[in-house]
Symmetry: C2
Subunit: 221 residues, 2 copies
């Protein structure tokens, strides 16, 4: 019950917010303004505020809306990182969440405060991150990849209207390997018939045969 041995741990949420840009998986990083690790890049996150947040998910949305001025279309709990020694301020418990962000709205975020927020390559975390966020980020990337590997569609990374080729390319970038077009579409028809639907009469045009546009079918998350 002394100051060094508090009865409660710090409870925080950390968010790995992923999108796709320049053919790479990107993650949102913020520059820490306060100690510890002031000036270091870190995953966005913040302390749970029981008087404001009904659930941890509420905390995630509250914290991220301040940083994004936009709401998150998809959030998923991944796991916790906890212990007496991972934060110099004391016993901390942080719950990692993975979130997805549409690639066509990157600018709305990146343009905000360039010196404080940036989209970094999620798979080349060259620089040091605050706390144990390097490990945390690795787990989040792994979670994303596993989800797609098991057949989940990262629809929330895409624009509202997208082509199947875009969807496939997104999966390929996440997985880091190329997929067969025919097999990919066969699987879509068999397993994801209820997740996406054609937008009748709308096509993406270019120097080629027009591509059917699709949209995600809204499920409650």
């Amino acid at each position: 019950m002394s100051a060094e041995k508090p009865l409660f741990p710090f409870v925080t949420v950390d968010v790995a917010l992923f999108t796709i840009d320049e053919q790479r998986v990107k993650v949102l990083l913020v520059k820490r303004e306060e100690a510890p690790y002031a000036g270091c890049w870190a995953l966005p996150g913040g302390a749970l505020k029981p008087h404001l947040d009904g659930t941890l998910l509420d905390a995630v949305h509250r914290v991220m809306e301040r940083k994004l001025s936009a709401s998150l279309p998809w959030v998923e709990e991944v796991c916790t990182f906890n212990g007496a020694n991972r934060d110099p301020r004391g016993w901390s418990l942080s719950v990692l969440h993975m979130a997805l962000f549409p690639m066509d709205r990157i600018q709305a975020v990146a343009g905000l405060r360039v010196s404080e927020v940036k989209w970094a390559d999620a798979e080349l975390p060259l620089e040091a991150l605050a706390f144990d966020h390097r490990r945390v980020l690795e787990r989040a990337v792994q979670h994303l990849r596993n989800s797609v590997e098991r057949g989940a569609l990262p629809l929330q990374m895409l624009p509202e209207k997208f082509t199947l080729t875009q969807l496939q390319k997104t999966c390929e970038i996440v997985l880091g390997k190329s997929l067969d077009k025919s097999a990919f579409r066969r699987r879509l028809k068999e397993l994801h018939a209820g997740d996406i639907e054609e937008i009748e009469g709308e096509f993406e045009r270019g120097v080629q045969r027009p591509a059917q546009l699709w949209k995600a079918v809204k499920h409650r998350q």
Copy 2:
């Protein structure tokens, strides 16, 4: 910052401890002695004590050792249950863990304090459980099943020495469906060559051809 709106949530660990008995998946329940839900059966668990526990996993082991007089051979974090309203005492965050227990040591636990601890059928949770533990248990069962479905072997539910038929039967009980012997063993050879090994010269004998005994290869968890 008032008494009604504390700055910190309760942080607890809950444990779904599974084993196999009478051809069924069983889970350990304890009878609550204190309010709220006094007299109700619940999943074992307890509050994190930052001055005693280096990590949440330490808390799990500390809490369970008091109830089992035995250590847990396998513990895995599953997910959190949290919110302002799930515990009448206030904002609570409990981290669910799944643990496995060897079927040949059930008695060592069940015999302790029969009125306070019992092994209940994990898939027929007929009676009401304290808090939201019914949902919590469902998630834990689902986690166990998913793991085995994806190919994990629930080796920690088995005795130290076991036959492949026992291992297969255990998987079948968890999955709730029968498996093909030939395919099961083929997969063991291909994917789990490093996880189990024969105990040379040791066999399970009965009114039949003796069955080779195997043991789990120790990995750090």
